[in-house]
Assembly symmetry: C2
Homo-oligomer: 125 residues x 2
DNA sequence: GAAACTAGTTACCTCCAGGAAACTAACTCG
DNA sequence: CGAGTTAGTTTCCTGGAGGTAACTAGTTTC
């Protein structure tokens, strides 16, 4: 008999792995976190606003990422009857449930940087 | 005067964006979450154990990902003086601080799936 | 000495995420 | 009519993530 998996074979674990996969797929790509973070801060924002706020993103990518996020019901897209037609993007109530994840990730990153700095200053050489 | 950024320009926000970037870079790639999740459950594990547990991963990728994670001090690698030489990988105390993030992500994924199912069963057509 | 275990490494290939830049299309202003 | 605004779309291109498979190298067992 060959050795077999002993850790990842329970149903609970498979569900977890699947769930992580789901979330990471929805948040995949280079820009989703930035866009969501910006929308969480900025509320309703127009396409050009986002293009200016999300540092470095090209219109193609912004458009694509927003479409993805609209499909996944993380943002709503509203066309406004203004004269040069404008489009508002806003994070949905559902999308805002991602805030805790983003907070955790941001906090971890911050403490990671702090830990690095601490080590550099205490361990010399 | 052109319109300028108004949301993402504060120092606090830049720190957050940087922090998110840091974290996501450290957790980048297809396999980190699986490996960390598996190590969190399994404790000390050898290379071949991980190869068996992490479903679908190739030795090349496992090796590379483990090296990344060792550099970032998320795991420790210990060579054991056993007869066919074995190597143990274990998550560090520091690496285990990622657990809350992984939990959040897993829980979000689970509730996402539940929400999808609920909608499918209530909204007909 | 062949097979099977340990832990990887190396070489080759492929696909696609994402960047750059130009373009569409409707409208306004001078 | 030309320039500038809005919100995108289209085309072309490249780097690198990740897959496959073979190979190294040491040890044990039959």
């Amino acid at each position: 008999m060959k050795k077999q998996s002993t850790v990842n074979t329970t149903g609970l674990c498979k569900t977890r792995i699947l769930a992580i996969k789901d979330t990471m797929e929805i948040l995949s790509g280079k820009w989703k976190f930035h866009i969501i973070g910006t929308l969480l801060l900025g509320g309703k924002m127009r396409f050009m606003d986002l293009l200016r706020e999300v540092d470095g993103i090209a219109p193609k990518m912004l458009s694509k990422e927003l479409q993805d996020m609209e499909i996944n019901q993380l943002v709503v897209r509203t066309v406004c009857n203004t004269k040069p037609i404008t489009v508002e993007y806003e994070i949905t109530e559902y999308g805002s449930t991602l805030a805790p994840i983003i907070d955790e990730i941001a906090n971890w990153g911050i403490s990671y940087r702090n830990a690095l700095l601490k080590k550099e200053s205490t361990v010399q050489g």
